[in-house]
């Protein structure tokens, strides 16, 4: 992974855009892994149809990764002769094979024993040399990645890098990239971007329980929250983490919990509580392949149903999905504003493919306007009615500690004051009050985005937006104009904006990465798309690739 990180960082230094996806074997730590790195002069938001270059540091259990590393006859494989023949799963691509001894030429046996082989840095040097990155960019990238390592380790790695660059000069493979200009960019993972967006939105409390692929998000957040005077609480389970989150939020501090499918399943009862008691909360679900424990480290978009509908009773809430690694920042920040201003749980459906991808993005993305919680607007003296039925369904929730406004948050059906009652009147009135918040909700420009204006429309969300856009570009280029509609708001459905985006589309296809066509059914059932709308729905963990989507639509 260090190899991929150093390479991506060096490319970013040089002014290229890039995306790195990581593949791990089933064991939790160590063991075989692969870093898939793409670099380009234009932003990259999906995995490619094929890779140009495959560098094997060894062949250990490579067959498990083969389906995720598409190679073909025009790809090139570089491997160490000492590692033996190319395994069949890779060789069947018929890619061109180049043998290159990658062992650190200068390393003594003692060096190797003490510091490991520097094969990975040597290989990084080779690849960087082949695409034409400058040694200076690599040196800076290495220093940043190795920060805190001792001088010896640093030196050994630098030597290996230089040796790799030198070795590349002997190979002429035609991988030189077009030159580009150095630009200030951000290198960030989707999980970090969610964390940063949440901090920007004002989140200062996070309740969580570790779960792949969301753990790195909270591990990044914990120290940063401390710097901002906030805190992360490591709960005993997700039942606790979401309730801690609601507790902090009840206290007036914008709060968030972070999880993946199994954790979200445990949280469902308390999501209903947040709806009924009208407590703001942001829930991040970094989706992984399910159901049950599924494939912890691999992606899928199959939590749409539980996010939108998961609860007993009528429990409307907001469900959002970021459309790219960079958009994770925007969507998370906006999620906090919506939770606070609507006094509602807001679920953000990210996924492993976005969350654990590291991307080079432009830093100056537009930011949503801050929206705050209503805490005042009640006249002191009269009995305070936390759940008043009034013109505005969002009623003030004074911060505990404010004299004269004591109120009890209530999950039972309650009257306007918040006292539990069993009658039909209050039940219907409060359900209508809460429903009204979402009926009135107007997402404005943040509902989602349309790219292109072809009469075929691919309607999709999350990590499927990137490959859909690439496919649409190709189709359009081939004389079949195709637009992509990415939904940032999955629920409540942004009807007006969606109708506008669909105008003139003669063929509408909903694209999603789950078997049950969850988004398609949600949109069709709500009559938000024409009855003739088609569905492309298949489970993960393999990402959609542009060619797959284009072939479907052809």
């Amino acid at each position: 992974m260090t190899a991929g990180t150093v390479f991506l960082r060096a490319a970013a230094q040089a002014g290229y855009y890039g995306l790195m996806t990581q593949l791990f074997g089933p064991q939790v730590r160590g063991g075989e892994a692969a870093a898939l790195v793409q670099i380009s002069t234009a932003p990259i938001e999906c995995q490619p149809d094929r890779f140009d270059l495959f560098v094997a540091l060894d062949w250990d259990k490579v067959e498990q990764f083969a389906p995720e590393i598409p190679l073909d006859q025009s790809s090139t494989i570089i491997s160490n002769p000492a590692d033996g023949a190319v395994p069949a799963s890779i060789a069947k691509s018929k890619a061109r094979l180049i043998s290159l001894s990658m062992n650190d030429p200068g390393a003594t046996r003692l060096d190797k024993a003490l510091r490991g082989k520097r094969t990975n840095m040597f290989a990084t040097g080779v690849v960087a040399g082949l695409v034409g990155l400058r040694a200076e960019n690599l040196r800076i990238a290495l220093a940043q990645v190795m920060v805190g390592k001792n001088v010896d380790v640093m030196e050994a790695n630098t030597t290996a890098l230089a040796a790799g660059i030198k070795a590349a000069t002997a190979l002429e493979l035609g991988f030189k990239l077009e030159p580009t200009r150095e630009m200030p960019r951000w290198l960030i993972t989707g999980n970090q971007a969610i964390g940063l967006g949440a901090l920007r939105g004002g989140v200062r409390f996070v309740g969580c329980y570790p779960i792949t692929p969301a753990t790195d998000l909270v591990e990044w957040l914990a120290p940063e929250l401390q710097k901002l005077g906030g805190r992360l609480a490591l709960a005993e389970d997700e039942l606790a983490s979401i309730n801690m989150t609601l507790g902090a939020s009840y206290g007036g501090v914008p709060a968030m919990t972070v999880t993946s499918g199994p954790g979200l399943s445990l949280m469902v009862e308390t999501i209903g509580l947040a709806v009924a008691a009208e407590v703001p909360a942001v829930l991040i679900d970094v989706m992984r392949a399910g159901p049950s424990t599924g494939i912890p480290s691999k992606t899928e978009q199959s939590d749409v149903n539980i996010a939108i509908y998961g609860s007993h009773g009528d429990a409307p809430r907001v469900v959002l999905a970021p459309m790219s690694v960079g958009d994770c920042m925007t969507t998370a920040e906006w999620a906090v504003y919506l939770a606070e201003s609507l006094q509602s749980p807001v679920i953000v459906l990210s996924d492993q493919a976005l969350g654990q991808a590291q991307a080079v993005v432009d830093p100056g993305l537009a930011r949503p306007k801050p929206l705050r919680r209503r805490t005042n607007g009640v006249s002191p003296g009269a009995q305070f009615k936390r759940y008043a039925i009034a013109a505005d369904p969002v009623t003030p929730m004074p911060r505990p500690g404010s004299p004269g406004y004591q109120w009890v948050g209530e999950g039972l059906t309650h009257n306007e004051v918040g006292i539990p009652v069993g009658g039909a009147g209050a039940h219907v009135a409060q359900i209508n009050k809460r429903a009204k918040k979402f009926d009135q909700f107007e997402p404005g420009e943040w509902w989602g985005q349309t790219w292109g204006q072809g009469d075929t429309a691919i309607l999709t969300f999350g990590s499927s937006v990137g490959p859909a856009r690439e496919a649409a570009q190709r189709l359009t280029g081939a004389g079949r104009p195709t637009r992509v509609i990415g939904l940032r708001v999955l629920s409540p459905i942004p009807r007006q904006a969606l109708a506008q985006a669909l105008k003139g589309a003669r063929r509408v296809v909903v694209l999603e990465q789950n078997h049950g066509a969850q988004l398609y059914r949600h949109l069709l059932g709500n009559k938000a798309v024409p009855v003739t709308t088609e569905s492309i729905a298949r489970p993960g963990p393999l990402p959609f690739r542009p060619a797959e989507i284009a072939a479907h639509l052809a």
Binding site: A248, V253, T270, A277, V408, L412
Partner: protein
């Protein structure tokens, strides 16, 4: 998150128990022990001296968990079993508030048992009061974790046949910093323990014997069985556990006081967000 309003435990005029009453009429059966707990708690809050708006009462589900709305404090009546987690989040985010969790033995020891253990471990500075009636009252009389093995009920004819859970021993073993037992029929004694528990640093736990007169009418006899036992043990958890395991469940008073440091308050902000963002920049 520290831009708090009033925080100090001072008051302009002495508070009375009635300052903490909401006036809402409890749904409890006449004679339910929980009335005594409510009365004792109101007296305790008056004695403690922080005004109602600085106190937050958090509960789960059950007859006993209805208590917060009967007071004039801030409060939250959440889902079954999760009150301690909610209270933990609240207290960590708002250390200036007096956070008190209340509930039943089903809520706290059964569905919420894991949170009970971890709240003791975590040692956040708050108080937990369990109204233990050794039965699920709200669902009309099923055996709870503290029910005697031979107690006959519809759902467990002839008795559940399980060893009762010992909440005090578990609390001491799990790290609670203050552990006591009270009786709903002695609200003044309860009030004293509550004040002491609130003021003791760290996680304080008070198990209150609170009869369910409807489903366990035999608990009416508890008032004759309880006795005061001032044999409080300081710091020696093993000795305190041994004492609680040996008693018959009717000794009232403080069982254990520890000197574990409570969870610290959050730090003051030391960096602006722009500093945090800088780690992502690459290039010129």
């Amino acid at each position: 998150m520290n831009d708090v309003t009033a925080t100090e435990a001072h008051c302009v005029r002495a508070l009375a128990a009635k300052d903490f009453m909401s006036g809402a009429h409890p749904i409890w059966c006449p004679g339910c022990g929980d009335y005594g707990v409510l009365a004792g708690l109101e007296r305790a809050l008056a004695l403690h001296g922080r005004p109602p708006h600085e106190v937050a009462l958090i509960s789960g589900i059950g007859c006993s968990s209805r208590l917060p709305a009967y007071t004039n404090c801030y409060g939250f009546h959440g889902v079954h079993g999760r009150a301690l987690a909610f209270a933990t989040g609240l207290k960590l985010a708002r250390p200036d508030l007096e956070v008190i969790t209340v509930g039943g033995d089903g809520d706290g020891y059964s569905i919420g048992g894991n949170h009970f253990i971890h709240a003791c471990r975590r040692n956040v500075d708050m108080l937990y009061i369990v109204m233990d009636n050794r039965v699920y009252g709200m669902t009309k009389g099923q055996p709870s974790p503290t029910t005697e093995p031979d107690w006959d009920s519809e759902i467990a004819p002839g008795g559940i046949g399980l060893r009762p859970f010992n909440p005090l021993a578990v609390a001491v073993a799990s790290g609670a910093n203050f552990v006591a037992r009270a009786f709903a029929g002695q609200p003044d004694h309860l009030a004293q323990l509550v004040v002491e528990g609130i003021r003791w640093p760290g996680f304080a736990f008070i198990e209150v014997l609170s009869p369910c007169i409807t489903f366990r009418p035999e608990q009416f006899d508890w008032k004759a069985k309880v006795r005061h036992d001032e044999a409080m043990i300081q710091n020696d958890r093993a000795a305190a556990i041994a004492a609680t395991l040996a008693d018959d469940g009717f000794n009232l008073g403080v069982v254990f006081k520890g000197e574990r440091a409570a969870v610290t308050k959050p730090s003051q902000p030391i960096a602006p967000l722009s500093d945090i963002e800088r780690q992502f920049t690459v290039g010129t």
